[in-house]
Structures are given as structure tokens and as C-alpha cells.
């Protein structure tokens, strides 16, 4: 049983960041949302996952963030079987991910600055160490003048940019983003897409869940479609 995930600096990191084998998932007293999902995200890959509303895209992200266990099948993250990961070891895996939640999940009692700094604080970095990095990120996402404000004072688009800034801030190995451009205008969507592409070029594995197939095609990423509880690869 693994006690902690392998790090990127390990001599032989897994070539697969994510592997789902015959994964099924459902909620009690409801038909399964996911049935026999097989999916591999190689390290450093960039995928878009599209699908109709209610197809199970967000449920798939819940499995990948270890928020829920699958009802059947097997999931491997960074080369380790999720079923073998003890609860106490899950935070170490989550710290290797950056997640953009559809509902943002911003901490309303923390300032914009502190929300962005959260993943760094949870990794034990000191304010003196990360203040400059956070300021740069806020500058880039256009929120530097709102740094001291609370998330409740931001518009929908600003909240989305804040959520993305927080997810990518610690330079995670895997970014999972649920509709990350749903609340921003086209120009900002393009700008954020470039951010994901830049991170991907640095080796970050990226999975973006979006209903916007046009944006997905424009990104040049591989396109996956979730329908009838299964994932299929869409030909370019």
C-alpha cells in the first residue's frame, strides 16, 4: 500500500497520469451515471471532455479528485491504484492536482489574494516566499486591483478567473477544470486557454470539462465525449 505518491523528480514517474478501467459510478437509488468508462490521460497530455448536461462529466471529476469512490472498476492516479490509497494519503495526491470547480468553491472569508495563495499555504510555503508569485498570477488574470477584496464582491467572470488562478498556482502535475471558461467573455476565454496550453507545454497534464465543443476544437487538444455513461474519443 503506497504511503505517499511518487514525485515528479522520481526516477521513473508513471507515463500515465490517469487511467480508468471499466469504471462505473452512480448515486444511491438512481441509475449509474458512468458505465464501463475506460480512459487514459498520458503524462503531459491535453484533453477536452465534452458531453451533454447530466452526462456525468462532473461525476467523473469527483472520482478523479478522490471525492467519491467508483462503484465498479479501477482508477489509477500517477501510477497508483486509487483503491489502495489510504485516506490519510489522499491529501498528498490532491496536492499534485489543481481543480477548477464548476461552482468555483472559493473561500468567501478569505481575500482574493489568500484564495490564490491557498494551495501554496497547504504545501507549507511561507507568505514571504509566495507573495511575489501570487501577485504575478493576480496581475496576469487581471485581479491585482481586487487582491484585498473578498470573492463575494467579484463578478462571475472574475470568480472564474480567481478559481483558475488558485488551481494552477502551485504548478500541479494534473489540472482538472470543470467548465473553466463558462462565465468569461470570448477574449478572456482565449487568454485562459493560452494559460492552460502554456502549462501543458511545461508538462502539466490537463483535462478540461466543457460543453463548448468549438473552444475544444480551437484548442488543438484531444477531444473526448461522454455519452451514455461511456467515454469515446472524437476524431479531429
Amino acid at each position: 500500500m503506497p504511503r505517499s505518491p511518487r514525485r515528479a523528480a522520481d526516477p521513473a514517474p508513471s507515463p500515465e497520469t490517469v487511467r480508468l478501467s471499466a469504471v462505473g459510478f452512480g448515486y444511491t437509488d438512481r441509475p449509474d451515471v458512468l458505465r464501463d468508462v475506460n480512459l487514459i490521460l498520458p503524462r503531459g497530455s491535453f484533453h477536452f471532455l465534452t458531453g451533454a448536461s447530466g452526462a456525468g462529466k462532473s461525476s467523473l471529476l469527483k472520482l478523479l479528485t478522490l471525492a467519491e469512490p467508483p462503484t465498479s472498476g479501477r482508477i489509477a492516479l500517477f501510477g497508483d491504484e486509487v483503491g489502495q490509497i489510504a485516506r490519510r494519503d489522499r491529501p498528498a495526491y490532491r496536492r499534485r492536482m489543481g481543480v477548477v470547480f464548476q461552482d468555483f468553491r472559493l473561500l468567501d472569508h478569505l481575500s482574493v489574494f489568500d484564495n490564490v495563495a491557498l494551495p501554496l499555504r497547504l504545501r507549507g510555503r511561507k507568505a514571504t516566499d509566495y507573495a511575489g508569485d501570487v501577485a504575478e498570477m493576480l496581475e496576469w488574470v487581471g485581479l491585482s486591483d481586487r487582491a484585498e477584496g473578498l470573492p463575494g464582491t467579484l463578478s462571475g467572470g472574475e470568480k472564474q478567473r480567481l478559481a483558475i488562478a488558485r488551481a494552477v498556482m502551485a504548478g500541479p502535475e494534473l489540472i482538472l477544470a470543470d467548465e473553466p471558461t463558462g462565465s468569461v467573455d470570448g477574449a478572456m476565454a482565449g487568454r485562459l486557454l493560452k494559460l492552460f496550453q502554456s502549462l501543458n507545454r511545461l508538462g502539466t497534464t490537463i483535462l478540461i470539462v466543457s460543453h463548448d465543443e468549438a473552444l475544444a476544437r480551437a484548442s488543438g487538444a484531444r477531444l473526448l465525449r461522454l455519452a451514455d455513461g461511456r467515454v469515446t474519443v472524437v476524431k479531429p
Partner: protein, 307 residues
């Protein structure tokens, strides 16, 4: 670590480093009300603790006082006066090992003892017994048996009362008082702990969204539990300090007003009691740490499905 300035081709103006905010929202679980409640409970616990000590001190004092004295009733021989028989008995008893002093009680003193019970009118007609008051050595008091034997050897007809009957009753009564005070102290400490545990649980439930976000962002369960422990430990410590301060002022005032005997001789207070109360904030914080730990672990344990 990615240098964002390199990636973005720009560098933001340096900003002053600010103190980090707490990751838990303020007042997660009605903390002001809880603080007031803990302060009151700590105040009551302090009073109960001092009451326990005072009752224990009183019971020992009463028993010690009773143990230190014996009363001998002398019956004069034919042709001998009562005062003469009492004086002879006092002289005999003074020579017994374990006796510090023996003194024949004069009629006026005996009448003064009876006056509150009998009234002035009948006192002069009453056959007042001839008594000897014996003060015993504290370290090795003479027993009733040795006093009786010495009197018999001297040919004195007398009855020795070493107060053992009274002493037993006093000690039993004081023991019950001490136990009741201890129970009151434990009950208030338990109530404080339960209130903290409830508030911790309520805080976790009220901000489940925050807990989940922290958890999904990589916070460990132990880290989240520690956030709650720290929050409620500091709160209880501060509230405990307030409660203890009020109790110290009250008890100090009573002690100062009551002189050496405290408020009353029956329930003596000591300055050392006040020193003991200074531990209250630490005890309150410790109770909070344990309660918060239990509540947070239970809440987090039920938050996700078990492994």
C-alpha cells in the same frame, strides 16, 4: 515551482507581505455565545473547585479540633465537693502521656455553655455536672481508654468523652459536602467540554463547504482538525481566563473580608485557592482541545465514505 513572470512575460510590482488570514471563517459556530458560556461555566467550576477545597479543609479542621479535646465528667465521692473532685481529676489527667493540659471547668463556664439552651431562669437550680476539659497533644493524643484507666487508678469515678461519636458524624458530613462540591466541579467541567464539542461539530456542519474545499485542495484531516482545535483551544483559554478572573476577584474579596477564617469559619478559604484557579484557562483550553479533536475527527470521519 513555475515562475509566472517567465511564463507570462511580465512581472508584477512587488507587494508588501501581509499576515496570513486564518483558513477557518470567523465565528464558525456561534463563537461569541460559546465564549460567554464557557466563561460562565469556568466561573462556576472555579467556585465549585474552591468549595471542594474549603469543605475538605473544614472537615479536616473540625475533626482535628474534636480529636484535640476530651471532656471528663467527674462524680465526687461521699464527703467530697464537686470542684475538689474535678480539680483532683484534672491533676491526675495532666500527668497522663499525650495530654497537653487538663483544666477543671468552673461553674460559671459550665453555666455559660448551657445558657443558650436552657435559659437564664433555670440555670441556678440545675445540677451542673463537674467537668474537666482535657487538651490532647496533636501528634500523639492520649486515648479515651488511657484517660479512663488513669482516673480509675486514682480512685476517681468519672466518664471520659473523647468526641469520637461527634467526630465520626462531622467527618461523614464533611465528606459528603466535599463529594457534592467535587461532583459540581466535574459536572461544570463536563458541561464546558460538551458545549465545546457541540460548537465544534456545529462549526464543522455550518462550514462543510469550506472543509470540503480545504480537503480537496490537499489539506490533511489532521490539519483541518488542528485548525478547529486551535480555534476552540484559544477561545476556551480566553473564556477560562475571564471566568477565573471573576472567580478570583470574588474569592479574594471574600477571603480579604473574612480575615484568617475566610468568609466563615465553617467554610474557610485560603489564598492558595486563588493560585489554584490560575490553572483554569489551561484546563479549559485542554478540555477544548480534546473536545474539539473528538468532535472534528467524528465529523470528518462521517464526511466521506470509509476506505
Amino acid at each position: 515551482m513555475i515562475r509566472w513572470s517567465t511564463l507570462f512575460g511580465q512581472k508584477a510590482a512587488p507587494k508588501p507581505v501581509r499576515p496570513e488570514s486564518g483558513l477557518l471563517p470567523r465565528d464558525a459556530g456561534g463563537e461569541r455565545s460559546l465564549g460567554a458560556l464557557i466563561a460562565v461555566l469556568c466561573f462556576l467550576a472555579c467556585l465549585a473547585a474552591v468549595g471542594t477545597l474549603a469543605a475538605d479543609r473544614a472537615s479536616h479542621g473540625w475533626a482535628r479540633a474534636l480529636r484535640a479535646e476530651a471532656t471528663v465528667q467527674v462524680r465526687p465521692r461521699v464527703g467530697e465537693t464537686g470542684p475538689a473532685a474535678a480539680a483532683r481529676a484534672a491533676e491526675t489527667l495532666a500527668g497522663v502521656n499525650g495530654v497537653e493540659e487538663a483544666e477543671a471547668m468552673d461553674r460559671e463556664t459550665a453555666q455559660a455553655l448551657l445558657r443558650p439552651w436552657m435559659g437564664e431562669a433555670v440555670l441556678n437550680d440545675l445540677p451542673i455536672p463537674f467537668l474537666v476539659t482535657v487538651r490532647l497533644e496533636a501528634s500523639a493524643p492520649a486515648s479515651a481508654l488511657s484517660l479512663s484507666r488513669a482516673l480509675a487508678e486514682a480512685g476517681i469515678d468519672a466518664t471520659v468523652d473523647d468526641h469520637s461519636l461527634w467526630r465520626g458524624e462531622v467527618e461523614r458530613s464533611a465528606g459528603v459536602i466535599s463529594l457534592l462540591a467535587l461532583a459540581a466541579f466535574l459536572a461544570t467541567a463536563f458541561a464546558a467540554g460538551a458545549a465545546i464539542a457541540y460548537a465544534t461539530r456545529a462549526g464543522l456542519d455550518a462550514r462543510r463547504d469550506v472543509i470540503e474545499t480545504l480537503s480537496l485542495s490537499g489539506a490533511t484531516d489532521a490539519g483541518i482538525v488542528w485548525m478547529f482545535q486551535r480555534r476552540f483551544g484559544l477561545l476556551a483559554g480566553a473564556a477560562g481566563a475571564v471566568g477565573a478572573t471573576v472567580a478570583i476577584l470574588l474569592i479574594g474579596g471574600l477571603r480579604a473580608l473574612g480575615g484568617d477564617a475566610g468568609l466563615t469559619p465553617a467554610l474557610p478559604l485560603a489564598w492558595s485557592d486563588i493560585i489554584l484557579l490560575t490553572c483554569c484557562p489551561i484546563v479549559a483550553a485542554a478540555v477544548a482541545l480534546v473536545s474539539a479533536w473528538l468532535a472534528a475527527v467524528a465529523a470528518l470521519g462521517g464526511r466521506t465514505r470509509p476506505d
